[in-house]
């Protein structure tokens, strides 16, 4: 037993290094956001300021457009997550349960969308959405984000559906259900982890999206958090405390969602990875 202590120690130490590396930047963000302005420079490299303050948060909430950005981002990310989850449940179910002629074309199309540079679409999408009045609008963003996230979400949902025995909906159909009722009443409730994973994944993705938001939105009214924060940074680039307070606020919903669903997400990717 004695010999096994050293590897265990090395293992724990390595894991500790990873945790420190993963969390330090976030810790620093939090630290600066809580440091009063007068200590910002004098205590620049200290691990924790001698005094903490919430004044940056108060300022951001009261004197900036961040509450609007936050609300916009919640609307956009929330609607996108819900829309994608509904659409991807249906298409993921189709890929999991049916064999049909064009299935492999559909899979191929979805894989293709994962391969080509989305920046390619910035210009054409802007050109298409402008006459439709969907630039500078949250709806436009939701439509675009939904389309972008459907392919991956479809594969994710498919891997969850694949894990549910086909006998279940066969039993339901023999019990007197149509396929759609079997899907709704039997299969979907069993896919709740998958739905949670998809919701969380898409919410986070939409919450983070920057390039299309920058391109399609100008002005504060429809700006999402990334756009708002970036504008704020370029305008008030010395108010580090306030910027980081805003950063912490942008982080919270994404991180919360992630911590809630990461178990299911790993599970879904596991199923996906096994298939390759």
């Amino acid at each position: 037993m004695r010999r096994s202590i050293l590897p265990v120690f090395a293992h724990r130490l390595a894991i500790l290094c990873y945790i420190v590396f993963a969390l330090f930047p976030l810790f620093w963000l939090l630290k600066v956001s809580l440091t009063p302005n007068d200590l910002l420079y004098s205590e620049g490299v200290r691990m924790w300021p001698s005094r903490t303050t919430f004044e940056h948060y108060a300022f951001v909430l009261q004197h900036s457009a961040f509450p609007v950005f936050f609300k916009n981002s919640v609307i956009v990310s929330g609607s996108t997550a819900i829309a994608v989850t509904i659409i991807a449940s249906l298409s993921g179910y189709a890929l999991s349960r049916f064999t049909f002629r064009t299935k492999y074309w559909i899979v191929g199309l979805m894989l293709l969308t994962q391969m080509f540079p989305l920046v390619m679409l910035v210009a054409p999408i802007f050109k298409i959405l402008t006459p439709l009045g969907l630039t500078n609008s949250l709806t436009g963003l939701v439509v675009v984000y939904t389309a972008f996230n459907v392919p991956f979400a479809t594969f994710l949902m498919q891997s969850f559906f694949d894990g549910i025995p086909k006998d279940l909906e066969k039993a339901a159909m023999i019990d007197g259900a149509t396929r759609f009722i079997a899907f709704r009443q039997i299969i979907l409730p069993l896919t709740l982890p998958g739905i949670a994973a998809t919701l969380g994944f898409v919410f986070t993705a939409a919450w983070s999206e920057l390039l299309f938001a920058l391109m399609l939105i100008n002005g504060n009214n429809a700006a999402t958090f990334p756009v708002g924060l970036l504008t704020f940074v370029s305008k008030f680039s010395v108010d580090f405390g306030q910027m980081m307070a805003a950063g912490v606020m942008a982080l919270i919903p994404a991180a919360l969602f992630f911590l809630l669903i990461q178990r299911y997400l790993v599970q879904g990717l596991t199923a996906g990875a096994v298939k390759g």
């Binding site: 006998d167 279940l168 066969k170 039993a171 339901a172 023999i174 019990d175 009722i181």
Partner: protein, 351 residues
């Protein structure tokens, strides 16, 4: 309850044929067992009756009306799956009542049906539990309960006992038989286990290679197997076979022994023939052919002896605890009325 007619039913996937022209007449209230090795098409046939597989050609009729194009939900049949296929997110009671709720049956009716099925199957204490919290045998009972509450036209069983251990399988087998005795419901039961087939069936349908080999009562199949496949498949330990040729006054076996038997005339001499005898019908007697004991397998209620007879392997089942050991000499004899003869095409020669 209903009768089911299978009329020249075939199923193929592209050029790969799974079932080729199956005909079967199932009477009202009959318990039919489809038996055969895996890949023989028995499950496919069952699933086609259920409506889970499309029909390539032929017809399925329930109570004389064609159901080929009917959706499973409109066929009014119940099915017990090998995996049980219980809805994991529903309690036992809700699992059993799902079909009735889909049909919008009244609350009282549903409750009465659940109570009836639960008492029949001894499930009363578990009604509010989820399937996950049940043992294998209990899940099996819930799956049967789900079929019972329906009062369907027919019950379909797809290898329902395969996932149970030996002891439980025996017990559930008896329960299914008892249940059928009570309900007198038309049942089609798929299994690869010939003991299940023998014990449960009113009639057995033995299948192989997508074709029905023989239909008959269990003892008919045991006593008068129609061909080599059925002869070898039914019965455990399996039948012994010897190759030989037809001779004017009997059969000459490969080793030169002449079996004096009366065979129907008509066929030519020197034709290939297979002789079969069940291990339990071989007699260990003082006068007979000498054989060497290769292996002794005691099963408790008898002994399976693996013998070598002039270089040919032979299995003998005896309830006599002779305490033989490998290497010992015994003599065996074959009562002619227990012999089965099959022609070169593998078909039974009637005597």
């Amino acid at each position: 309850m209903a009768s089911i007619t299978i009329d020249n039913l075939a199923k193929s996937y592209g050029t790969y044929s799974v079932l080729q022209g199956v005909n079967l007449e199932i009477k009202d209230g009959e318990f039919i067992v489809l038996v055969g090795p895996s890949g023989c098409g028995k499950s496919t046939l069952l699933r086609m009756i259920a409506g889970l597989e499309e029909v390539t050609s032929g017809e399925i009729r329930i109570d004389a009306s064609r159901v080929n194009e009917r959706h499973p939900k409109d066929r009014d049949i119940a099915m017990v799956f090998q995996s049980y296929a219980l809805y994991p997110h529903m309690s036992v009671a809700r699992n059993m009542s799902y079909s009735m709720r889909l049909r919008k049956a009244s609350k009282e009716k549903i409750e009465a049906a659940i109570a009836g099925a639960a008492s029949k199957l001894g499930l009363e204490p578990y009604l509010e539990r989820r399937p996950k919290a049940l043992s294998g045998g209990q899940r099996q009972r819930v799956a049967m309960g789900r079929a019972i509450v329906r009062q369907p036209k027919a019950f379909l069983f797809d290898e329902p006992l395969s996932n149970l251990d030996a002891r439980l399988r025996e017990q559930m087998r008896a329960e299914i038989k008892k249940m059928h005795g009570d309900l007198k419901a038309t049942s089609i039961y798929v299994t690869h286990d010939q003991i299940e087939a023998m014990t449960l069936a009113d009639r057995i349908v033995a299948m192989h290679g997508g074709l029905v080999q023989q239909v008959g009562s269990p003892l008919e199949l045991y006593d008068r197997p129609a061909n080599l496949f059925v002869a070898g498949f039914i019965g455990s330990p399996g039948m012994n076979f010897f190759e030989g040729t037809r001779h004017s006054d009997g059969v000459r076996l490969a080793d030169g022994t002449l079996l004096k038997v009366q065979l129907p005339p008509g066929a030519d001499d020197e034709q290939g023939i297979t002789v079969g005898i069940r291990p339990e019908h071989v007699e260990l007697s003082a006068e007979g052919v000498g054989a060497t004991v290769d292996l002794v397998e005691p099963t408790g209620f008898g002994i399976i002896l693996h013998l070598s007879l002039n270089g040919v392997d032979l299995k003998v089942f005896t309830s006599d605890r002779a305490f033989l050991t490998p290497g010992q000499q015994v003599s065996v004899s074959f009562p002619t009325h227990h012999l089965h003869f099959f022609d070169a095409g593998g078909n039974r020669i009637l005597r």
